[in-house]
Amino acid sequence: MTLRSLLAREARWVRHNAAVLVLVLLILPSLFAVSTVAFQQVIPRDTPIAVVPGDDAVTQDELDAVRGVAAFFSRPQSYDSHDRAERALTREEVYAIFVVPHGLFDEGADVTIEMIVEAEMVPYEQPSLAIASILSGQLRGTFPADVSVARTVIGDDRTLSEFLVSVGTILLTMVYAFVYLPRVVADEERVFQRIRVESSIWRLLTAKYALFTPLMLVPVVAFHAIATHLNFRLDLLAPGAVAATLLTFVSLSAIALGIMFLTRFATVGRLLNATLLFGTLAFSNLVYPAGFFSPLRRNVARLSPIHYAMIVQRGTALKANSAALYADRFALLAGFTLAGLAFLTGSVAFYQRRA
């Protein structure tokens, strides 16, 4: 075969794989380029923070003034009680609490704004030091009173390694859901016709989930065993953490499998799943607080159920919070899982109708 023949064959290959090539060479790079706009700064300037009055004497003007100053480096939200703000802090609705004292407008008064952060939110610990320092500088001269900022760390200290083990469990679960299970089912596509005659694809998928959902506990147990061996202080086997991990697996794998059925197990389906995996990793703020890199990324993360799965897993495994604290998050994850399964059901029905 001459080079010309081979080049002609390549041209035909391009024609037959046009959709995949467009996805790989055009859409993916474009998405990647577009996604960089979500990374605008390396200090957290848009993270949500809570502003609460220190006591009943604090005026609305004082609260508004602190909110105004805080808006330079965060997205302040008002809370009327300290307890509610702390609940929001541990649920990662906010990443710091600013307790506003009375007397900001009193000439010569000596007042201290307390900045409360959680020790377990390790990636925010160093940035919060910088924020406290910057804020002190900004406040000096802004108010008639002599204002200082005191940073208080609540909760138990955790190392970055402990924090990352918690994150790693969810990351690996996402890889299993988007890559491994779809691959296993795709390998069995050649037997689908017989399965459909002798049984059904629904039963095949039920069997897959009956096997793989409990199997997802194996990597969790492995993570937990190694963490225990390294004397890490986290409990990945806490019921809430396990439930969040398994719901993540079922929901994401249902979406990934749905895509495989919709694309009839073509390469383009695998690429779409890879794109979704990287998109979810990049935009769910699994490691850094929402708003760390840009307001856009914060807004996207707040729409991602996986962002909340991570918060629940971290809250129950790393912070030892009760699962009940995240009842609404569990409801969201359960709803997302049902939606994923409904998508899978529709995709399988479409696949069978087009067979």
């Binding site: 050649r190 016709q193 017989r194 069978q352 067979a355």
Partner: protein, 220 residues
């Protein structure tokens, strides 16, 4: 007795009519041969018959659990051994007896390869496994798509004998093939499909006559 009946069945894929107004009865006690040139609608008819696709119009009576199938492309779990494949599919709808499974393994000569991964077998062995899976539950109607493809002459002879004995009061065969002569001793009913319509459907005495009839219809 009719085990499967098509009544005015039409199947469309978009604007393309793959099958048009098909009336057909597949009966027990018979070896029913389905013939047709490429693109005549045979695969669509088999898919409808197996419940793999739905009719656009018309009615198909297909009692559940009475059909076994052997596909043109052998279909099994390639990572499992021959024995494991028989176990897995046997457990979905159990064979009538262990003796029946043994008989199938013997007729098809599969005892030599029972412990080998099915995906590593040659084309002929894979076809035999596919046939074994088709007959495993001793179906009322066994639907076979080119059942002799890839088989050596000795295996073809054994399989033809087995097929000749299979139809009885409770069991029947539907064979889709281009090689009607191969079933000269077995077939007793012929359906010829052409351009999605039934060109001929009726009893026939022998394979040679069937072939003549088929060629006449197609040439016309």
């Amino acid at each position: 007795m009719a085990a499967i009946e098509f009544d005015g069945v039409r199947k469309r894929y978009g604007d393309v009519v793959a099958l048009d107004d098909v009336d057909l009865a597949v009966e027990t006690g018979r070896c029913h041969c389905l013939l047709g040139p490429n693109g005549s609608g045979k695969t669509t008819l088999l898919n409808l018959l197996l419940g793999l696709t739905r009719a656009s119009e018309g009615r198909i009576d297909r009692p559940d659990g009475t059909i076994g199938c052997s596909f043109q492309q052998p279909t099994f779990y390639p990572g499992l051994t021959v024995d494991e494949n028989l176990d897995v599919f046997g457990s979905m709808r159990p064979p009538p007896s262990g003796e029946w499974r043994g008989e199938l393994v013997d007729v098809l000569g599969l005892e030599q390869v029972t412990h080998r991964p099915a995906g590593e077998l040659s084309g002929g062995w894979q076809k035999k496994l596919d046939l074994a899976l088709a007959f495993l539950k001793r179906p009322t109607i066994a639907v076979l798509d080119e059942p002799l493809d890839d088989l050596d002459d000795r295996s073809k002879r054994r399989l033809r004998r087995f097929l000749a004995d299979y139809p009885d009061a409770d069991h029947g065969l539907l064979i889709a093939t281009h090689h009607v002569d191969d079933f000269a001793d077995t077939l007793d009913r012929l359906t010829v499909l052409d351009q999605g319509r039934i060109a001929y459907d009726g009893p026939i005495d022998d394979g040679a006559a069937a072939r003549e009839r088929y060629l006449d219809l197609i040439d016309d």
